[in-house]
């Protein structure tokens, strides 16, 4: 995105602009720094899950069923966080669950971002009838609570991981479309875009090289919120037993199964529930912080 630097609204030198995010990180408070550390840890742990796991996440052991975590009575050597109702190692399962949850969240939110931003750009750039039609679509999406639509869609079609991710990915696109459209409208008639236009640049070139750089910040901020939205949606659906099919675990489905053993073996549900909580908080806090740091104003983001 450095190519448009010479023509940004506030003229810049050709030197690469120092990253606002990096600068902000230096002066962020301890909570945000902690979030960055947690985020890095989560990503590394998810990537290295096969190396860090002590057991096969789906291997059952009837002799080691329902064991509590380390430090509790009945703890069994080698199962640090205890085992679940089928004797599967909870620690290894959580690692793999984290991997799946993050994978679905990142891909799902990227799908939302791509669809939403593309629609937003087209809508804002073309204007007229196209704009009206696309914005009517956005209104429909807002009027119909997507949790339920996703729920029905996943219940009917979603046993397959790919389909599940796509359905989840469709959940959030309207937010991107609305914000991006507004941003494009704001700079569409700016002098620097006019200047590019008179030099004969194609719309594609104008959008790709000159507009995207200027509307990147709100997209990044929305995406950060999007990841946590998708995680919440995915884990809620998985909790209900919709979504990725067993034995493959996501954190949500692990919590769902753990609910049945809450009275006697609370650790089965609590371990994945706690992980979901940490991920959701990290992404939301970072999203809030990014919004302030990049000075993005998202209209009425509740």
């Amino acid at each position: 995105m450095t190519t448009a630097e010479t023509l940004t609204p506030e003229p810049q030198t050709n030197k690469r602009r120092p990253s606002k995010i990096w600068d902000g990180m230096q002066s962020a408070n301890w909570l945000i720094k902690l979030c960055f550390v947690l985020l890095a840890t989560l990503i590394v742990v998810a990537l290295l899950a096969p190396l860090l796991a002590t057991h096969d996440p789906n291997a059952q052991s009837l002799l080691a069923r329902l064991r509590p975590p380390i430090g509790f009575e009945g703890y069994r050597e080698g199962y640090v966080l205890g085992t679940d109702e089928l004797g599967r190692d909870l620690y290894s399962r959580t690692l793999y669950g984290l991997r799946f949850t993050l994978l679905i969240a990142v891909i799902g939110s990227l799908i939302s971002m791509l669809i939403g931003s593309t629609i937003g750009i087209i809508s804002g750039y073309m204007g007229g009838v196209v704009d009206n039609v696309l914005m009517a679509l956005v209104d429909i999406q807002i009027a119909f609570p997507f949790t339920l639509m996703a729920l029905l869609a996943v219940a009917l079609f979603g046993t397959d991981l790919t389909i599940f991710v796509v359905i989840i990915g469709l959940a959030d696109w309207d937010k991107y479309a609305r914000v991006v459209r507004g941003q494009v409208l704001a700079i569409r008639d700016a002098p620097f875009i006019d200047a590019v236009r008179v030099t004969g640049a194609t719309p594609y070139r104008i959008i790709r090289h000159h507009m995207l750089a200027n509307i990147a910040s709100p997209i990044i901020v929305l995406w950060t919120f999007g990841v946590s939205n998708v995680i919440l949606l995915e884990s809620s659906l998985s909790f209900l037993g919709l979504g990725v099919q067993p034995p493959t675990a996501t954190l949500g489905s692990m919590t769902g199964f753990g609910r049945d053993y809450l009275a006697s073996y609370p650790h089965i549900g609590l371990v994945p529930a706690f992980m979901i909580l940490v991920i959701a908080l990290v992404f939301l806090l970072l999203g809030d912080w990014l919004r302030d740091t990049l000075d993005v104003r998202l209209k009425r983001q509740a």
Partner: protein
């Protein structure tokens, strides 16, 4: 009159559209006989049940038959419970209404005033504290909060039953769980709507001419902020199924949220279709109410219509 007529036509069209979408989507996605009966059904038995439920006809014939039934006020029989869907919904709807209405009222009564207060006390510790609470309510998934509450109040302290819907005590935890999430949403939304209005020029004018701060906030700012707040609340009501579904699942509360999920999983077409009709009806009524409240709140809307 014209207004009501266009509204009615649009509502009917919306209903027909959603019901048709669900009708075909659910039928293309699977056959209830495959899911309801154990494997190894002989072809004769399969054919018998298929014709018993009328599933051997073409989708179009089933579709026309369904709408013919609707015209006669017949919403169909549940394929899994062998009785009219209206009966099943009538049993469960009161639970969902109790749950949602109590949670909604609680969330509005607590959330909106807190949001307004947080906006007026911007950057003060009290506002930060309110927003922190709202942040947690927003970030913690509903069912996880529910699990923590069950663990504490049911299994450790033994104060509350962990599931069911027999007495009002059974509703305490579900209502609180649901209200937490909606309240957090209300606080965040109300605060940002208020802040936006409080930054306007006419508020500065009101202050400059010496009006008391309570008057500025309650009359000048609030009345203008009420429009987005009310439409947000309208969206909340319209999305009621999405809100209650998880809470009903965690607390094993027999409402229509869990009913619709079960209908989708078992391909109980009749339940699914009627569920969507009920839901669409709520959406339409909610939108209508929002419009009426707009007109009551804002003289400009009244003049325009």
């Amino acid at each position: 009159m014209y207004f009501i007529l266009t509204r009615a036509i649009r509502a009917t069209l919306t209903m027909i559209f959603v019901v048709s979408a669900v009708f075909f989507a659910s039928r293309y996605s699977g056959n209830p006989i495959d899911i309801m009966f154990p494997e190894g059904l002989s072809p004769e038995e399969y054919a018998f049940w298929e014709s018993y439920f009328g599933l051997d006809r073409s989708f179009l014939a089933q579709y026309l038959a369904y709408f013919r039934g609707l015209a006669e006020g017949n919403f169909g029989m549940s394929l899994t419970e062998f009785r009219p869907v209206t009966e099943i919904f009538a049993e469960r709807l009161p639970n969902t209404i109790k749950l949602f209405v109590s949670a909604f009222l609680l969330a509005v009564a607590v959330g909106v005033p807190l949001g307004i207060y947080a906006a007026t006390q911007r950057d003060k510790p009290i506002s930060t504290a309110i927003m922190a609470v709202a942040f947690f309510g927003y970030a913690i998934p509903n069912y996880i909060l529910a699990i923590f509450m069950i663990l504490i109040f049911s299994f450790t302290l033994h104060w509350m039953p962990s599931s069911g819907n027999m007495t009002w005590v059974h509703f305490v935890m579900p209502v609180v769980t649901l209200a937490m999430a909606m309240m957090a949403w209300n606080i965040r939304f109300t605060r940002s709507a208020m802040l936006e209005v409080l930054n306007e020029d006419f508020i500065r004018t009101a202050r400059a001419k010496g009006l008391r701060e309570t008057l500025v906030v309650n009359k000048h700012a609030l009345r203008n902020a009420m429009i987005p707040i009310v439409s947000n609340l309208g969206l909340q009501v319209a999305g009621f199924v999405g809100w209650v579904v998880l809470v009903e699942a965690v607390f094993a509360l027999e409402g229509i949220g869990s009913l619709i999920v079960r209908g989708a999983l078992l391909r109980d077409f009749a339940i699914l279709q009627f569920g969507v009709i009920v839901w669409a009806a709520v959406v339409i009524v909610a939108n209508l109410l929002v419009d009426v409240i707009y007109a009551l709140l804002d003289p400009r809307v009244r003049i325009a219509s």
